[in-house]
């Protein structure tokens, strides 16, 4: 399966993240699954004229490829000209190249939240860059290719969203396609692969005991739950971050900071400071999406009153000050 990869307006972090694939070499992993890069801006040999010729051959159908992966937002500004990102050596807007190549690709993948929704690139007030995703403007279908776009393989754009994406999300989606095929049933309502977006960041969070007892962190580096005060959206964000782990066994929550829901469209404009929880009448507005609010409040009050001293005390420290009790021998 041949993959052509382009970078729009973004930070390149999804590629840097992809290179963190573990265990084993990313290149060997993809080779073994029969996946090869036709070109990749950070990795391929071809530069300058060689690369430009390759793009033209791909866009005109002379050079067949299977998957177009696009990282970074599409810039249509200023004033619809696309001049905020011109293809180097060519002078045509990158967005124009993506439109042409998408018509030839059997499948189109948006790698990361910029190319899926517009992401951080679309976060400037008034969006002067006219940044958008491949098939979304934030959470509204449309984007560069339009709501009705289907690649010749029959799917809308596959949104491997995340800021950045996890290497596993990209590799597994490519391998699922290469080895077993990918259908609409494999994607959620926003076109995200269910193999990672079928879970919530909350699932597997190492702070779940603190969450259960509403034993909340009050300041950075506290061990407690980050939902009540420090802006965590793990109960609403679709991703399996706390199950597969980042860079070994890490995750945002394990790093001691809030999930900002970077896989969700519009995450870059939360309407409040990222690291503070927005509350109305003392109650966080971002409660779990599939739980009646009154029940949540009632349960929270109950669990707070039942919180063990260990959990309550450790929640506001950066290291456990009370250990779980050990059963005495013979009892």
């Amino acid at each position: 399966m041949k993959v052509l990869w382009l970078q729009g307006a973004g930070c390149g972090g999804c590629t840097q993240s992809l290179l963190c694939h573990e265990p084993g070499s990313l290149f060997a992993e993809l080779r073994a699954a029969g996946i090869e890069f036709v070109w990749h801006p950070a990795l391929a040999a071809a530069s300058d004229r060689d690369a430009a010729t390759l793009f033209e051959d791909c866009a005109s159908g002379r050079h067949a490829f299977d998957v177009l992966c696009v990282e970074g937002a599409m810039l249509r500004g200023p004033n619809g000209s696309g001049r905020f990102q011109l293809m180097a050596g060519d002078g045509r807007p990158l967005a124009e190249w993506v439109e042409r190549l998408a018509q030839r690709a059997r499948w189109v993948f948006a790698i990361g939240s910029c190319s899926a929704w517009g992401g951080i690139s679309a976060a400037t007030p008034g969006n002067p860059l006219e940044a958008c995703g491949l098939q979304y403007d934030e959470d509204t279908p449309g984007g560069l290719l339009g709501a009705d776009f289907r690649s010749s393989g029959g799917l809308p754009v596959v949104n491997v969203a995340g800021c950045p994406t996890h290497p596993g999300w990209v590799v597994e989606t490519l391998e699922k396609l290469a080895l077993e095929g990918l259908t609409a049933a494999d994607l959620d309502e926003f076109g995200r692969p269910l193999l990672y977006a079928g879970e919530l960041v909350h699932h597997g969070c190492a702070r779940n005991e603190y969450y259960e007892f509403k034993a909340s962190a009050r300041k950075h580096s506290d061990l407690g739950c980050l939902m009540e005060n420090l802006g965590c959206k793990g109960t609403q964000a679709h991703a399996d971050c706390n199950q597969r782990g980042w860079n070994g066994r890490g995750s945002c929550l394990k790093g001691g900071f809030a999930c900002i829901a970077c896989t969700e469209p519009g995450f870059e404009w939360p309407g409040h400071a990222f690291q503070r929880t927005y509350k109305v009448a003392g109650i966080p507005i971002g409660l779990p999406t599939d739980m009646p609010k009154a029940w949540f409040v009632a349960l929270a009050a109950l669990s707070k009153s039942a919180t063990p001293k260990r959990v309550r005390d450790n929640a506001v420290e950066d290291h456990p000050v009370v250990r779980p009790p050990v059963r005495k021998a013979g009892k």
Binding site: Q7, G10, C11, G12, G13, Q16, S17, L19, C20, E22, P23, S25, L26, F27, A28, E36, W39, H40, A42, L43, A44, A45, A46, S47, D48, A51, P78, S81, R83, F84, Q85, L86, M87, A88, G89, I120, S121, A123, T124, P125, P128, L129, C163, H220, S221, W246, N247, G248, G250, C252, K254, G255, G256, F257, I260, C262, F274, Q275, D318, H319
Partner: protein, 474 residues
């Protein structure tokens, strides 16, 4: 005279185009174009000050932590706080991890594949280097990637993930390290050391770091098995120690809390203190509204697409009016490290000197990291509160892998009123300024052979700076 437009220039971070005026088969003048505009400075205005910590890492996926550290430092200056010792150690460890991972990525993924180019087919070393370094297929990539991933597992412990962490705060680090994790971190660092010694250098870190002169380095490399000595063989054959000289004036903001000091290094070897007040940015040749060069604390970024004489989105930072080179070589020259100083004393800055400086950093920073891990004290605080005033200013000056990175912010009425960023490649790949002085790369390309049949020396020189274009056009 003919004009050549090189691009897309890949295996750099981000979008790059190089315009060359050529006479008689060699470069007479060069202009460097960053053809992407991103607008983060406008994006930050109006936000809550601490939102910068979420936003600025997303300027760059390869200097992500450096951007975090600069913002955290600027906010700490605004808040008037200093992190506790554990917080500072965690930060330098995270910065060092990113910088060393970037040095490895640069050497193996971005820079070395050019030596597999068909133009070198007649060279004695070409077969070996092509087997080892051909892009995506060479054997080196499969050795590098697991080692790089293991190094970045340090981030899993200290920063949650990489890129784009929120662990670095003005008051310290959100992630307290346990005694057990300290042991595991040291184990990870030993694994990375084994790769660097066994695969990259073919010697102990200490053995390589003891080399002080160019002849010693050549003697050391001769016949040695290791990817870096192999590079030195090819580089010596091509004379890359005499290729790619810019102005030989350098800037470093200083790294790792004193391990590498800050300074301005002059062509005669003298080192002065950095005076940030002498930094200005000139926008004469950028698609931005022109005006007198301004210091970043008062800098402006206003788009003007149809502008006579403009050819890039990159500004031209100048220090007391002078274009400076930044990066690992600058850091090591300012620090007075013998080997890079000897190379530059003989031939000026060069492709080889820039690569050597990165290797010196791998050999010296890895052992320092082990020392920083050992200095962490579990149980002592990692982060202190850092309440931000409603009115304040601050600057954060740090070193990314590829050089000096500065953030300047002003807070008014509890919101970000002004934010300016000067990134490493903004220095190195800056355009001409209003007085006609070229940027460092523009100078370094002059005189190189180009055209059909010419060796890819332009490619070596461009990539020797380890450019990060997405930072450049923040």
């Amino acid at each position: 005279m003919t004009r050549i437009r090189l691009g897309p220039f890949n295996r750099v971070e981000g979008d790059l185009e190089v315009l060359l005026d050529v006479t008689g088969g060699s470069v007479r003048a060069a202009r460097v174009n960053a053809p992407l505009f991103r607008g983060f400075e406008q994006l930050l205005a109006g936000r809550a000050p601490e939102d910068a910590l979420t936003i600025v890492p997303r300027i760059c996926g390869i200097c992500s932590v450096a951007q975090s550290a600069a913002a955290a430092a600027a906010l700490a200056a605004a808040a008037g706080v200093r992190p506790p010792r554990n917080g500072e150690l965690a930060r330098v460890l995270v910065q060092a991890t990113e910088n060393l991972a970037d040095h490895l990525s640069h050497f193996y993924l971005f820079f070395m594949p050019d030596f597999a180019h068909a133009a070198y087919a007649g060279r004695s070393w070409h077969g070996d280097l092509a087997t080892r370094f051909t892009a995506l297929r060479g054997s080196a990539g499969d050795d590098l990637l697991p080692a790089r991933a293991r190094l970045l597992n340090v981030m899993g412990f200290l920063a949650g993930r990489w890129p784009h962490t929120l662990a670095l705060q003005p008051g310290g680090s959100t992630r307290a390290v346990t005694a057990a994790e300290r042991v595991r971190l040291r184990s990870l660092l030993r694994e990375v050391r084994a790769f660097v010694e066994g695969v990259l250098l073919g010697d102990t870190l200490e053995g390589f770091a003891a080399l002080a002169t160019w002849p010693q380095l050549q003697a050391w490399a001769a016949g040695r098995r290791g990817d870096f000595p192999t590079f030195l063989g090819a580089a010596g054959d091509l004379g890359l120690e005499r290729i790619g000289r810019a102005g030989d004036s350098f800037i470093s903001f200083g790294a790792y809390d004193g391990l590498f000091p800050a300074g301005i290094r002059r062509p005669d070897g003298a080192v002065d203190a950095v005076d940030p007040a002498k930094i200005t940015e000139d926008v004469r040749h950028a698609w931005l509204v022109d005006g007198e060069p301004l210091p970043p604390a008062r800098g402006e970024t206003r788009v003007l697409v149809d502008k006579e004489g403009a050819y890039t989105w990159c500004k031209a930072p100048r220090y007391a009016g002078e274009a400076l080179e930044t990066g690992a070589l600058a850091r090591q020259l300012v620090a007075g490290t013998p080997l890079p100083c000897d190379l530059v004393a003989r031939h000026g800055a060069s492709v080889t000197a820039r690569v050597v400086a990165r290797m010196v950093e791998l050999a010296t920073v890895l052992p320092a990291m082990d020392g920083w891990v050992r200095a962490l004290v579990p149980g002592e605080p990692f982060c202190l509160p850092a309440p931000l005033p409603d009115e304040a200013e601050g600057a954060g000056l740090v070193e990314a892998a590829r050089g000096s990175l500065g953030h300047w912010l002003r807070i008014e009425r509890g919101r970000i009123a002004h934010y300016q960023i000067v990134a490493p490649t903004t220095w190195n790949f800056s355009p001409h300024d209003r007085r006609g002085r070229p940027g460092p790369l523009e100078l370094a390309l002059v005189g190189l052979p180009v055209g059909d049949g010419a060796p890819p020396l332009v490619q070596h020189v461009v990539r020797s700076f380890d450019p990060c274009m997405v930072c450049t056009v923040h």
